[in-house]
Symmetry: C3
Subunit: 152 residues, 3 copies
């Protein structure tokens, strides 16, 4: 019984972090639109008609491109993390460890987006956030390998 409650707690940590990471990605997605409107640069002709813009080059405005790079970095990291960590939270990890790693991941990804898309700061701020996220994912992968080695 206690075991079932512990697993429900791990699932809840997962659900909260997955939700917060998804919300962060939506914020970045929408801010692409806001930056585009502010800078009056669009790519799709049907959007241009609304904003009364004539520049339809294939090239993005630097400010829009920066937000998009931040978004792409999310795409490269967050879905794969959510799949790996879904496996991991089902390998009965320590509850405290589960809380620490999941919340730390969400925290570094929020900071990564802030310093990439909105308030560019000198490196290595962005690099540290990125590496921390990768290391947490790699740690979970190795823990999964160890856990599942017995069933192989």
């Amino acid at each position: 019984m206690e075991e079932i409650l512990e697993q429900a707690q791990r699932n809840s940590v997962y659900a909260y972090n997955a939700g917060l990471l998804a919300i962060k990605m939506f914020i970045v997605a929408f801010s692409t639109g806001f930056v585009r409107e502010k800078e009056k640069v669009v790519i799709n002709p049907e959007d241009a008609k609304i904003l009364k813009v004539t520049d339809l080059s294939n090239e993005e405005h630097p400010a829009v491109a920066r937000v998009k790079r931040a978004h792409l970095n999310d795409l490269e990291n967050i879905p794969i993390f959510l799949i790996i960590s879904l496996m991991w939270v089902n390998t009965a990890p320590d509850i405290v460890e589960c809380h620490v790693l999941m919340w730390l991941y969400t925290f570094v990804r929020y900071v990564h987006t802030a310093v990439y898309a909105y308030y560019p700061v000198p490196q290595p701020a962005r690099g540290i956030c990125f590496i921390t996220g990768v290391l947490i994912t790699l740690y979970m992968i190795i823990r999964n390998f160890i856990y599942y080695a017995d069933f192989f």
Copy 2:
């Protein structure tokens, strides 16, 4: 027993929608190739040799770039939706609600791709599809938060 059958039904709704969304993404992926061949524009030198094209600029042709933007929008939305909705269908939501939200999501993403990549129509058609998908995902996130709040 009835509960197990109900969960199997929710899983089946999930499996069908996940499959249809994946198939849609593959259609977009392949149509990039078709548009590229039709417009005779390639980026990789090894592809150029086959199509006998000499333009190897880093820049994409507008028609190819449009399909790629539609594809990128899928990548920004669909994998994260499939993770969030996987959690959600396991929180015992109402069967009818489960059907409505999952099928509606798949429908708006199919329409989004159609009006983005293939038959550009005046906005806000594309915007409405995008927002509907985001709102469904946000609703599921909040429902997950409420469901898992008890186990936190």
Copy 3:
């Protein structure tokens, strides 16, 4: 009992392949940085200060762009495969089939990256890898459809 052990084995096959595919994506992500440093091309001003580069055009260097296209192709295929195959390994597929399809997928994606990002070879090497991955995913989607048709 045997059934539970069989499912644990399927889960272990899934966990190992998910881990290896995630590691491959991280290798590609980091090699973008290495190529960028080697070619001395950056896009973000804050990165330029470290590498003492002045070219801040919105345009990527061809060598960097090639690695990024390989990475984007991963993003278009791997997360969606990991979601579809997670459903599939839970539909009690044959153990041997499970091993063959999961390891073959990981193998073709590793080869795809090698011939796309690092050692460009004449087509259709890359195309065959890509198609094989898509066909494996489509096969699993159809198997999921058949399995879940009973519960619909």
